[in-house]
């Protein structure tokens, strides 16, 4: 009796185990800043990921997707991100690490991905070197040089000879400054002044006055999205730099959809280069923006939401192709060279660097149907990260 029972239990357990194996969900650990100064990043990426799952179902390659979100606020503290990654791997037993609002977070987690052999899908962190930190990293967002170079090229080609650069005084700012200078000077332009402004800066008056006094053809700005950009653009208008014949050119994060409304009409006319605009005209984007508006009526989709969406797409496609395998090497091999039509346009994963290759657009801020939009008027196709060349 006892023995039979024992066998019965064992058998039941066995079937359970097998059944569980087949339907075992794929766990994705999303490490994002959900509070603190970069809370908006986490929110947008989270929205993008969930929107994808809502639209395309949550089962790929026969396995259900399960998300575990961890808040690594403030997002700049690598130690926190790393600890969360360790926990996700060790305790929550996730199969894939994803998210990463800011570069330090991605840098700190990279060794965990390598050691634990987990694929790591970077959905924002934009410093060029991120993908070199682990062979399991795939990036679906952008790199800073990638979105900086096109506006420099455009400026050099369109009669802008002298540029004054204004960047936030921190790592990414220094990178943007370097890339702009490199591309712009190579294109025949001249940098007539450069200034690095503190990240906590209440007043741009002295810098703007300096720009005005120097009288360049244009001023190039890179500032973290948020009140700095707003303050700069408003100051630019107030001080009459436009009337003094100075153009405002920037990377697209200055006027990305989430913060452009805070600029108001001051932003109209800003020329910038970026990889995604809500106003991008394509059926994919139309479907995406409509679904987004329905799911999150109080927010506007921006590049981070799209990166979350595309990151999830990449994971889904890989799972479908590998039949649900989450082996890191297999995952990365499958992801390499993958091409698809994203809401932002055609994109692919560079097989050599595992970094994203995409079309970068040159846009101008305009009012479209009462909303401030970045309207694309030029583009560079299949643009690779120039920071790695």
């Amino acid at each position: 009796m006892k023995l039979r029972n024992g066998i019965g239990i064992a058998a039941t357990l066995f079937t359970f185990a097998c059944g569980a194996l087949a339907a075992d969900p794929v766990k994705i650990g999303l490490i994002l800043p959900m509070t603190g100064p970069f809370a908006a990043y986490g929110k947008q990426i989270d929205h993008g990921v969930r929107l994808y799952l809502a639209k395309h179902g949550d089962t790929f390659g026969g396995r259900k997707i399960e998300l575990v979100v961890k808040d690594d606020a403030p997002g700049t503290a690598g130690d926190v991100s790393k600890r969360l990654a360790q926990e996700l791997v060790v305790k929550d037993k996730v199969d894939i690490l994803a998210g990463f609002g800011l570069t330090p977070s991605a840098f700190a987690v990279a060794p965990v991905a390598t050691e634990a052999k987990k694929p790591m899908v970077v959905m924002n962190a934009a410093t060029s070197a991120v993908t070199t930190k682990s062979n399991y990293i795939v990036r679906v967002s952008m790199t800073l040089p990638q979105i900086t170079a096109p506006v420099a090229t455009w400026a050099a080609k369109n009669g802008i000879k002298k540029v004054f650069t204004v960047v936030a005084d921190y790592g990414p700012g220094h990178d943007a400054e370097g890339q702009f200078k490199k591309t712009f000077v190579a294109g025949g332009g001249e940098i007539v002044g450069e200034v690095r402004v503190p990240v906590k800066n209440a007043d741009f008056a002295p810098y703007l006055q300096k720009v005005k006094d120097t009288r360049p053809d244009a001023v190039f700005v890179f500032l973290p999205a948020g009140e700095l950009g707003v303050s700069f653009v408003k100051g630019f208008r107030e001080r009459g730099l436009e009337q003094a014949g100075i153009k405002l050119i920037a990377t697209g994060d200055l006027t990305e959809e989430e913060s452009v409304d805070a600029h108001g009409d001051a932003a109209v006319g800003v020329i910038n280069s970026f990889h995604y605009a809500e106003a991008h005209a394509s059926p994919e984007n139309k479907a995406f923006t409509e679904a987004y508006a329905k799911a999150y009526p109080s927010d506007r989709p921006n590049f981070m939401a799209v990166a979350g969406y595309d990151g999830m797409h990449l994971i889904a496609e890989v799972l479908a192709k590998t039949g649900g395998s989450v082996d890191a090497d297999k995952f990365v091999d499958t992801a390499k060279g993958m091409k698809w039509m994203s809401p932002r346009g055609p994109i692919s994963i560079d097989p050599a660097t595992r970094d994203i290759v995409q079309t970068v657009y040159v846009r101008k801020v305009q009012r479209v149907g009462g909303k401030l939009q970045n309207v694309e008027f030029d583009h560079i196709d299949e643009f690779k990260d120039p920071g790695k060349q």
């Binding site: 809370a39 908006a40 107030e238 913060s259 805070a262």
Partner: protein, 285 residues
């Protein structure tokens, strides 16, 4: 010249956003780090009235200040008054708690994004005088700042309320003995402090932006002004703000490499030579 004007305007903005703290910290001797939370409230009220309700700017700003003052009264009546006798450290922690709660609440109600603000046309742009470009909004800030400084100074020094307030702070028991309603005086003073915070917040949105992180982002600036100015001193705060604004703007214009250093360096140097602040009362608790 333009740089000097900008420096004065920047200083005036510092003065506007920190003067409320001069009242609570300086006059009432309460380290209210939640000052920025009241300022944020003023900012949000102002933005909502302008954007959603379409009120005119000049009406929305005082309403924002009134809303912050009202919130100040409510909180003072329920919570703050229990801590008047507590140590500075307790007050710091208590008000940091309020800051955290306000950040989360703002996040909940308004989201994480920057709030837009549209100034009326007559405050936009600048006009050019020989040798100096005058930003109209900056000029507006300077005028309001000077008006406030004068008004407050007059109120504290010349009115009955000011005298009662000073008496109540210096020696509450004696003040009570003189028939002053100390509780009421403190409530009013706290309302004044938070109302001024709200006013500063509303006027500052244009230049400082507004998102849930506001109370923390600018906390350091409020404190610097009050610490350098010496607590409890309207014209001390004014002069400290103007000095910091001028140093900061000129430093950034002429020595942009030094950047954010200047404001901290100025503060530390000043405090080393004048530990009580520029015009401090040495009788701090």
């Amino acid at each position: 010249m333009t740089i000097v004007f900008d420096g004065v305007a920047a200083g005036m903005l510092l003065f506007l956003i920190s003067i409320g703290l001069s009242v609570t910290l300086g006059l009432m001797n309460f380290v209210n780090l939640a000052h920025g939370a009241f300022a944020m409230l003023g900012g949000y009220v102002c933005v909502l009235l302008l954007g959603q309700a379409g009120w005119p700017f000049l009406l929305a700003v005082p309403t924002a200040a009134a809303a912050a003052a009202l919130a100040g009264v409510v909180l003072e009546r329920t919570l703050y008054r229990r801590l008047y006798a507590a140590s500075h450290l307790d007050q710091v922690l208590f008000s940091i708690g309020i800051v955290f709660m306000s950040i989360s609440a703002a996040h909940y109600f308004f989201g994480a994004r920057q709030q837009p603000i549209m100034l009326p046309d007559f405050l936009l742009g600048q006009f050019v005088l020989p040798g100096i470009d005058v930003g109209i909004y900056r000029l507006f800030l300077i005028v309001i700042g000077l008006g406030l400084a004068y008004g407050l100074h007059w109120m504290v020094r010349r009115t009955r309320f000011g005298a009662q307030l000073r008496a109540a702070v210096d020696n509450p028991r004696a003040a009570r003995g003189l028939g002053i309603d100390v509780d009421r005086v403190f409530t009013l003073a706290f309302a004044l402090g938070s109302g001024l915070a709200g006013l500063g917040g509303a006027l500052g949105v244009e230049m400082l932006g507004l998102d849930p992180g506001f109370p923390v982002k600018y906390m350091v600036y409020f404190l610097i002004v009050v610490a350098v100015g010496g607590s409890g001193n309207i014209h001390g705060s004014l002069i400290a703000s103007l000095m910091l604004g001028l140093f900061d703007v000129c430093g950034k214009y002429y020595l942009p490499q030094v950047g954010a250093f200047i404001i901290y360096a100025v503060m530390v140097v000043m405090l080393i030579f004048k530990p009580q602040g520029l015009f401090g009362r040495s009788a701090a608790k």
